[in-house]
Amino acid sequence: MENPNAHIDFLESGPLAPFKKWAAKWSLWPCHFITSCCGVELAHAFACGYDGERLGTLNLGIARQSNFIIIEGTITRKMARALQFVYGQMPDPKFVNVIGACGERGGIFWNSYNITHPSDIVPVDFFVPGCPITPEGLLRGVRALQDKIMGVDKTTIDFKKVELPFEEQLEERMIPTSPKLYAPTPEIKVDIKREVDWDFGKELEDKLKKELSGLYESVTITGVNRIAIKTTPGNLMVVAQKLKEMQFDHVKSVNVIQVPHERKFIVEYMAASYRVEELMPVLVTIFTEIGIKDPKLQSLMSVWESANYSERELHEFFGVLFDGNDWMGKKFLLAPDTPDLPLRKEFKIPEERYVFEKGVPPEHMVPIEPPKDLYLPIWEEFIEKAYDSDEIIVPIGPHHAGSGHLRVTFRVKGDRIVDAIPEPGFVHRSMEKLAENKLYIQNIPLFERLAINDPANMNLAYVRAVENALGIGVPERAQYLRTIMAELSRIEAFYYDSGIFSLFFGHTTGFMYCMAIREMIIEALMQISGSRSGPSFIVPGGLRRDIPDMVLELIDNMTFALKRRMKKFESIFVYNPVTVARAKGVGVLTKEDAIRCGMVGPFLRASGVNYDVRKIAPYDAYDKVDFEVTTGDDGDCLGRFLGRLAEIKESVKIVKQAVDAVKGIRGPILSDDILGEYKEAASDIKGNFFRVYGNLVLPKGEWTTITEAARGTTLFTLISDGESNVPYRVRVISPCWMNLRGFMEAVKGERYADFWAVYGSFGYFPPEADR
């Protein structure tokens, strides 16, 4: 960065300067460089709600044809390479705007080990604050840039400085210490026995004891539907095989917990069943302990294919070697310059500061060197093998008009994809590590950023885990309101995915129609919470404040109003013969494959498995509303897409019922269990938020909850030591992460162009997968 204003100087030089400036001003074409969740709001800024094209800003072309990068949030270490290369590829003069707090000083991820500051990598013209930004903010950034091109370079806000009240000089005061409490030598136990009213569990416990006799150290019921089996590292494989015989056909989560002071790792696999109905809600955890030195374990990939990617990930995080997984020693989620073994407790991330000190620049200092080379996850043999068999290697992404922030390397023979190697992690923002260093309540916005287009479900999934641990209930009114929010969020997410699906087919109209429908739902969510797509509204015990009847009326109207635009969308895109031709029979995932790969959510149901957490283990008001689970038999792209459209109709039904029900229920929206003495806050937490939630401490043990988010089952495992007011370890398994395996399976053998059909049909949202 020799001269950060080189692009402006270029415009001002030469006799054509006025024309150059005028043309550049009205023709800022951003390149397709989606880096993170602010991309969702970017979509809205350029869709029918705000239509950035009015300003001459058209999303067309890639690096070579554009002159403007909008950095949408987080630039991870991996993405930093891409950013540098894309910037280098663009013709002069070029401009950069950063939107979203992550791209500025890191936002909620400021102390993450995997993010960088874009301003260290490329010269930035304007920063737009927000997380996520509003479309107005983005367009304001564009306007500011237009003004800058014409010669007015200034921040668009003017502060009015005010003299602060000056009373008598107070004496030097002590700076309060951090509110966080870390237990020095926490006791970590994942199998704490709990007395619960669960008859089937007792039976199952006996059955497990019988089947696994001699192989286990203990079998414990740790909660309703939760059983933990302790075994030795040597017996792990046999136990897994036995469990598989008992129809525990997939793994929902793999987890490693490091206990440094006891010099051990606890490795756990959570097995569950899709085939047997009564086993569906049950999660059987098998865990074992291994020493911290040279941690090695047999991979259970051969038993449960769905453990594959999680094992790769945990190998990178903790250095545990899963023998038998072919990705050991290779990078999967992390960049080559990410610190090694970042999730180990020895690796410390910067501490929070609470006082503004003079002389200390208000910057977070993680040394980030701008990367120099473009790292590709393919190796010599792969290339040689491809060339030997007349195939070409095509890497897609992360800067590609239709890739999102995922890189997939294909081996293509003719038009057929022979092999696909996924490379996630372009938005890996280390949520699990950050969560270990935040108060329980601070983790709410953090985990909401898993999927900014499905915020309420993510919010709910985490909050439910906390509630489950604390054993607190939720008032009925709040239950219904939370259900409404979750379902609105589900519709919102499905429409986002449908929009992307149509965009991947080159059908911009379908995309715009989806965004128009989303605009309505966002309006409702904004009326509820005050934020377009980051409500952070659901808190343990209920909601932050009550929702006025006017907003309920609006939601009620909206359930009807959606119909008209949905019809238009259906006739122009869904039942368009070209769509049907493109999606039918493509990317088929059979029931067997879907179960083997541990698919979740609508994508599992599209393959014919009747599994929905809302039915098998209902939470909130789902047992009080009437809805149906939608399944399909085809398991192809069209089936997955239509299945979700059918689910939207069910969701609308649920919202209608819930709105009707909630109108008749008056009362608190926050549970007394959590409020304690702050009873006045029962309908609005304002003023007492930190007092109520600031010092939550979860009971000792492991708490796992599964919640049906839009794209599938979201699993949160909270491990608490019972003393700290921060979690000891949080394991998040997001639906997209689970679906990635099946996604890659479905791509193989299809045509090159079908990749986008499959991609769109899985609604793969990289921030959600990468966490």
């Binding site: 003017d158 609470y354 128009a516 930190f690």
Partner: protein, 245 residues
Amino acid sequence: MKKVATPDYTVADKLKTHVAALSTAAKEVVLPLNITTHYPRERKRQPACFRGFMLFDPERCISCFQCSFVCPANAIWMKEAPSGRYYPTVDHGKCIYCHFCVDTCPGGALKTTKIHDIAFRTMDEMVVMTEDMVEPPAIIREDKVVVDYVIDKEDLTLKRTKEVDELIVEIAPSEGVPMVSVCVDRGSCIACKVCDKVCESGAVSSVKDEEKLIVKMEIDPEKCTGCGLCVKECSMQILRLVRRE
């Protein structure tokens, strides 16, 4: 359980769907259901609860540090004002507008505005000092028309009004439950004076017990703002926040 079947098109179906798609498109060209807000010439009206740029009222601040403690992004750092009090500064390069701070503030010193469309030139400017947060800032406004989303049972329509939307929300600041700090076990007090040092309102004083010749701390409930810092810092954990009667 509902089964979703994928359609299998015959030639007739194909023709029908071609016609349907084309006619929908034609209809939309003639009578579009346009929903575009022409920002920046128009501005969409946000609800009063909209979470935007925050304003700060130093009169109401009790300097309890809670906003800083609760901030998930650690965007709020407390800065010492000339008077010796600590007031929050907000780093908008980190702020995620979750407004946990606004909900936390027991004195109601922080309040929301509908300002959210700002572009900063440098990151240094994004750290907004306390002095700048007291009065509503001026932003570039090009809007002459306010757009309301009207959602009725039929459809979403836009209602345009020729006016300039007021971005400063006039709502009464809501305070938290009034609390006061009390010592529940004065016998255990070791007089480390942490509570005194951390207290900003000067409510804690040391009292000499003449009989036993030891020093004990005493909290003046009149002066106590209920910020809870002494409760948090007390090395013997003998202080409690209780409801002010």
